[in-house]
Subunit: 201 residues, 2 copies
């Protein structure tokens, strides 16, 4: 006789939750059993997930999240300096820089960093749109706000070669950032200092 | 000017994820941004959640999870002893006892334990169905496999009074369980010993 287990849909949900970052088998099971209590806990979660899936997308220009059919507040703000573009790895990095209050230009989300070991090549990142953007807009300086780990440095080096060929000033966040870490380990003050002390490369 | 934040649907999803057990604000944000990558990560999760919401329910008799319109394997197994009912707090406790291999009777999931501080009264638990069940079925003994914390002891005491009035033998898991803890902190061997050494009350 096979030993008792949860019904297959419940097992599949636990397996699915386990794939999420930061959740192991035990916490996934606890989370799913919590959702099963009182009956009404699955529906609001599904509603929120579907809402995001249907209504949130990336801005075609900068790559930050926008609501579908709404203008990007970053790309269309008259208060922001269009001659300055800050290149970041992920959309969440935009929020981190905004919270530091040190930057009032435009952004460009790459969607990752170059990493041959993980099969991330220039074609997988939003590099082509960045080059097109600096060619068709009055951009003067590009700040490469990518992490200072190996992949970040490689990405910055690759991009700076391309961008300097377009006659642009290219700069990098100052080494106020901890060595070997990405933007997610930096507090806002450090980030502020790193932005102020950026060095031309 | 208000500081930049995620679009409202994304903010609502992060807030919803934060209500799940074991997830703080930072891990909720990380989880949601992970879901937003590559586009295709929300849909399988929604599918699994909806599948569970639509197809998994509690068995009317024992309270363990079953697939809708399917017979409960626990209540309908001819190999199980219907004269013995094991009362547990949560459906997950059924799995824990099954894995210990020490019990071959029927189960009854209460759905919690008495806790006046949290407004959990006898009406909130499946106590009425339990009394009805022992009156209409040939039950001889009820094992109260609830935790040995204050609420668990109160629940056991309340139930044993009711069940002894029905002329039943009522027993409790042996004190092999760690004092002050619920079933979720017990390893399978301890649980086995606790079942074998149950004492009549």
């Amino acid at each position: 006789m096979p030993s008792l287990d949860y019904p297959p849909p419940l097992q599949r949900l636990i397996a699915q939750i386990r794939t999420l970052p930061g959740l192991g088998p035990r916490s996934a099971e606890r989370l799913v059993l919590w959702l099963m209590q009182d009956g009404g806990r699955i529906e609001p979660l599904v509603d929120c997930l579907q809402d995001v899936g249907q209504r949130v997308e990336a801005c075609e220009q900068c790559g930050f999240f926008i609501e579908r059919d709404e203008a990007c507040v970053l790309c269309h703000s008259p208060k922001r300096n269009p001659r300055l573009i800050c290149v970041v790895e992920q959309a969440v990095d935009v929020l981190r820089l905004e919270r530091s209050g040190a930057f009032m230009g435009h952004y460009h989300v790459l969607g990752g960093k170059l990493s041959p070991l993980d099969n991330v090549t220039p074609d997988d990142l939003r590099i082509e749109p960045l080059i097109h953007r600096v060619k068709t807009h009055p951009v003067e300086e590009v700040i490469l706000a990518v992490g200072s780990d190996v992949e970040g440095e490689a990405t910055a080096s690759y991009l700076s070669d391309l961008l300097r060929m377009e006659g642009l000033t290219v700069s990098r966040l100052a080494q106020g950032m901890p060595a070997g870490g990405g933007l997610d380990h930096v507090d806002e003050l450090t980030l502020y200092q790193a932005l102020q002390g950026r060095r031309q490369i």
